[in-house]
C-alpha cells in the first residue's frame, strides 16, 4: 500500500503518456519507399469515391435491399460523414480479398459481411457486437 502511495504520481504520469500515445493515429514517419500497393490504392481514388463506388455496385445494392436497407439512405449517411469516418469505411472495403477491389466479383458471404459491417457503423443495422453502433452517425 505504501508502495502504491509513493509511486502513484509517477505511475499515473507513465500511464497517461502510454494511453495517449495508444490513441494517437499511426502515421508513418520513417523515411521509406512508397509501396506499389499504396500507389494502387491512391490510383483507385479518394476514399470517399471508393465508398461511393462500392455503394453504387448493383450486387451491393441488391444485397442491401434484401437486408431491408435502403441504398439511398446509406448513401445519404455516407455523404454526411467526415473524411476520417470515411477512411474507416474505406478501410473495410480495402479488406476485400487481394486484387478484388471495386468492380470485381466477390463471394456472397464476404460481401454481406462487409455490407453489414458498414451499415452497422452507419447505424442502419445492429448485427456485430464489436462495432460502436452508429458511431459514425452524423448527429
Amino acid at each position: 500500500m505504501k508502495f502504491l502511495t509513493s509511486y502513484r504520481r509517477p505511475l499515473a504520469a507513465v500511464l497517461v503518456v502510454a494511453m495517449t500515445s495508444l490513441s494517437l493515429p499511426v502515421v508513418p514517419v520513417h523515411a521509406a519507399m512508397v509501396g506499389t500497393d499504396r500507389v494502387i490504392a491512391q490510383d483507385e481514388g479518394l476514399p470517399r469515391d471508393r465508398v461511393a463506388a462500392f455503394l453504387k455496385r448493383e450486387d451491393v445494392r441488391a444485397q442491401m435491399r434484401d437486408l431491408g436497407i435502403s441504398p439511398a439512405e446509406a448513401e445519404a449517411r455516407v455523404a454526411a460523414l467526415s473524411d476520417a469516418e470515411i477512411d474507416k469505411i474505406a478501410g473495410h472495403i480495402d479488406e476485400l480479398p487481394a486484387g478484388q477491389g471495386v468492380g470485381a466479383i466477390i463471394g456472397a458471404a464476404v460481401l454481406i459481411f462487409i455490407i453489414l459491417l458498414i451499415t452497422d457503423l452507419l447505424g442502419l443495422t445492429h448485427v456485430f457486437g464489436f462495432t460502436k453502433k452508429g458511431s459514425l452517425n452524423p448527429s
Binding site: R38, A98, G99, A104
Partner: protein, 316 residues
C-alpha cells in the same frame, strides 16, 4: 388467385434458373472465335479424393512451365477442415510459384484464351446454390457446333460438357476463372488495370524477379502506366538493383510529374546511391506536391540530408 400467384412464382424461378446469357450471346455471334478450338497437348493430372484444387492448379502451372506435381500443392492450397481449396489460397499459390494470376470472368474471354492455347482454371458449383458442390477444373477446348466445352475434370480427361451446363455451374461458382501467365505473357484481350494489379500480387508474394520482368513488359506495352513504373522500380529496388530502380522511378516522374510518391521513391534511391543533389531536389518536389503521405516525404528529405552530412565527415 393463390394458384395463379404460385404459378407465376414457379415460372419466374424456372426462368431465372434457365438463363444462360453468355451462351445465348455466343449463339448469336461468335465474337470472331473459330467454330472449335483446343489447347494443344494439355497436361492432365487425375485428382485424388477431394483434391481437385491441387490437381487443377498443377495442370495450369505445369502448362505454363512450372515443374511440380499436384502432391506438391496440397499443403499450400488444400484446407483439411473445409475439405477443399479456397480461392484465395489458389490465387496465392499461383503467385508463389512465380506466375501471374490473371482473372477472367466472362465466357467469351475464357473461350478466347482456349483458342490462344492457354488453359484456364475454372471454379464450378456442380450442386445447387443452397447445396453447393464446389469443383475446380481446367478448360481445354470448346466446340460451337456441338455446343460443348472440354474440361480436364476430376479423374476424367477431356470431359465434354454442354456449354449451357458449363455456364450454369460456372455462374454458380461466381464466374471465377484464372490464367497462370509467365512474366511477359499477355492474355487476349488484356485489361491494363487488371494486368498490373495481377503483377502487383506476384510482387506481394515476394517474387521480385518475376514481378520486375512482368512490370518491364507492362511498361513497354503501356508506357504511361504509373503502377507499372512504380512496381518496376520497387521490384528492382528489392533486388538491390538501385541504378535500374532509379531509372524506373525517373520515368515515373517524367510521365506523371504530379505524382509525389514517384518523386519520393526516386529521392530515396538517389540518396542511397550518394547522388545527394538530385535526391534532395526530388524529395523537395515530393513535399511540395504533398498529399496524405507527406510525412514520409519529409522523413525521406531528413534522411538524405543526414546521409550527406555523414558522407562529408560531419562538415555541412
Amino acid at each position: 388467385m393463390a394458384k395463379r400467384l404460385l404459378l407465376a412464382v414457379i415460372l419466374s424461378l424456372t426462368a431465372a434458373a434457365c438463363a444462360t446469357p453468355q451462351t445465348d450471346d455466343l449463339r448469336r455471334g461468335s465474337h470472331g472465335l473459330p467454330a472449335r478450338a483446343a489447347v494443344a497437348k494439355p497436361v492432365f493430372f487425375a485428382q485424388r479424393t477431394k483434391e481437385c484444387g491441387p490437381a487443377a492448379l498443377a495442370m495450369a502451372l505445369v502448362h505454363s512451365g512450372v515443374r511440380l506435381r499436384p502432391e506438391d500443392l496440397v499443403a499450400e492450397v488444400y484446407n483439411q477442415g473445409r475439405e477443399g481449396s479456397l480461392t484465395p489460397a489458389v490465387l496465392a499459390a499461383v503467385r508463389r510459384h512465380g506466375r501471374i494470376a490473371y482473372p477472367l470472368n466472362n465466357l467469351t474471354d475464357l473461350l478466347r484464351s482456349v483458342h490462344r492455347g492457354r488453359p484456364a482454371i475454372v471454379l464450378q458449383n456442380l450442386g445447387l446454390r443452397l447445396l453447393p458442390r464446389w469443383h475446380y477444373a481446367v478448360i481445354v477446348g470448346y466446340d460451337f457446333g456441338k455446343e460443348t466445352v472440354t474440361l480436364h475434370s476430376g479423374r476424367t480427361e477431356f470431359l465434354e460438357m454442354a456449354l449451357e451446363t458449363f455456364e450454369h455451374t460456372w455462374a454458380r461458382g461466381g464466374h471465377w476463372a484464372l490464367l497462370t501467365l509467365r512474366p511477359g505473357e499477355f492474355p487476349d484481350p488484356v485489361d491494363e488495370g487488371v494486368y498490373v494489379r495481377a503483377v502487383a500480387g506476384v510482387e506481394r508474394a515476394g517474387r521480385a524477379g518475376t514481378a520486375a520482368k512482368a512490370y518491364g513488359a507492362a511498361v513497354q506495352r503501356w508506357p504511361d502506366n504509373l503502377i507499372a513504373w512504380m512496381g518496376l522500380g520497387n521490384s528492382l529496388y528489392r533486388l538491390n538493383r538501385r541504378r535500374a530502380a532509379a531509372a524506373a522511378f525517373r520515368s515515373a516522374t517524367l510521365r506523371h510529374p504530379g505524382n509525389a510518391a514517384a518523386f519520393n521513391n526516386l529521392a530515396h534511391v538517389l540518396g542511397e546511391l550518394g547522388r545527394f543533389g538530385e535526391a534532395e531536389a526530388a524529395a523537395r518536389k515530393a513535399i511540395a506536391l504533398g498529399g496524405p503521405d507527406v510525412a514520409t516525404y519529409r522523413a525521406t528529405l531528413r534522411d538524405i540530408l543526414a546521409r550527406r552530412k555523414r558522407n562529408s565527415g560531419g562538415k555541412p
